[in-house]
Symmetry: C2
Subunit: 224 residues, 2 copies
DNA sequence: GTCATTCCTGACCGAGCGGTCAAGTTGATG
DNA sequence: CATCAACTTGACCGCTCGGTCAGGAATGAC
């Protein structure tokens, strides 16, 4: 509740005081929840402020505007995403790469389900804030992977499936458990997914997708 | 713009006049678009009215309330869903059933992308209006299919994969192209998905999922 | 014509929205 | 102590929200 030695301009980021850091963390966490549940338009600063335990004016003091807060959340989620997009090479083992891909995607969705839903809501609404990212960096990333997948198919390491559809399949199958959590929990009569559930799902997806694309895992050949 | 021989109470359904029918159709179509893009809270009756080409008062005259309009849209989407949920039996061929399942789900998402996104937005927000449906009819439907899938596995007709995860995989993979359309189009640099694209995706998903679950299609054995 | 019913809609209302602002508190520094 | 930047917040503003309502227009039965 006190600070005084840190330069920071109201409504702009850049501060590094402890108070600022803590409050911004609370606000971002609350905002991620509210935006994820109700979308950009449906979210209200009053809701966010209440969930963060702060007056509405304080939220605006730190974040400047609703739009700025939203953009900052999207950027944070994209940074998390980029953090796990390591490069792969044609020389790598397809089974290892695809399994690592599925696992890291599942881990991201599990660690940041609100962020995943925030992203989903943005895309559902036509991605008004993310057009540039989708048609730029993300497209390049997908095309680079697609090229490598095609090479693997040429070398007979996997079936000649469309690599872009394959990437979408992995994305959709993994994100589903965060984005449609309410449906998954309702149908399976659970309160939440345990670590064991997530491991079971990951193993299932890895098995079906690798086997479905004709990729043989090196460590454990599938029984037939 | 005129009618007079049809009994109908303001704000309640049940009428069957031509004017009412046409206006309701326009309103439902517009509302589906707006709710899909912005969620329940984010949608506004003014937006819906403008897209339907009617004054806001007229929307309320036919639909009674925002909530009633939304519930009616959800029910319409669930009716479409139920229309393609035909019964299956243990005696059926797994390959045929799974392919028909994937195809009918893809067709539904393609025919009613706004409805699919509306449903997705509802689930994203925690399914406040659909809890009962998820924990009731839909759960029963899933469990019935799961039982049959397990029997197939016992008979050696497919691998012993978790049938519920398999159903979620098919749902997520097929819905993805409606719900995340903006992402798909942005990454693949398209304006829209052609019938050929959809056929290609359907074939890809059918191949990967059937092969991934160890199901052999009767008509066309996969080339190796 | 009269009448009843349905359809239509501009004007309006209280509530909530994002955002502003001025007046304050706090705490480190000299 | 005084000073000052950082932080805090209730009051307020213009606007939009979902919803109401009164009154008029259209239509068919008689």
């Amino acid at each position: 509740m006190s600070q005084g030695d840190v330069p920071a301009n109201p409504g702009r980021e850049g501060g590094n005081g402890a108070t600022r850091e803590r409050n911004e963390r609370e606000i971002l966490a609350a905002a991620e929840r509210v935006f994820a549940a109700h979308g950009y338009r449906g979210a209200s600063l009053a809701d966010i402020a209440e969930q963060a335990g702060l007056p509405k004016s304080n939220v605006l003091y730190y974040m400047g505007s609703k739009r700025g807060l939203y953009v900052r959340l999207l950027e944070r989620m994209m940074a998390r995403w980029n953090a796990l997009l390591d490069d792969i090479s044609v020389e790598d083992d397809p089974a290892e790469v695809l399994e690592a891909f599925i696992r890291s995607k599942m881990r991201l969705s599990r660690r940041h389900p609100e962020g995943s839903r925030l992203f989903a809501a943005e895309i559902l609404g036509g991605a008004p804030f993310l057009q540039e990212y989708l048609r730029g960096d993300l497209r390049d990333w997908v095309q680079a992977r697609a090229t490598i997948f095609r090479r693997w198919a040429e070398r007979g390491l996997m079936d000649p499936v469309d690599p872009v559809w394959l990437i979408f399949l992995i994305w959709s199958a993994t994100q589903h458990y965060a984005d449609f959590e309410a449906q998954v929990l309702g149908i399976t009569d659970r309160d939440s997914l345990s670590d064991a559930d997530v491991e079971s799902i990951t193993a299932f997806l890895t098995r079906v997708i690798l086997q479905g694309c004709g990729v043989r895992p090196r460590t454990e050949p599938a029984a037939d």
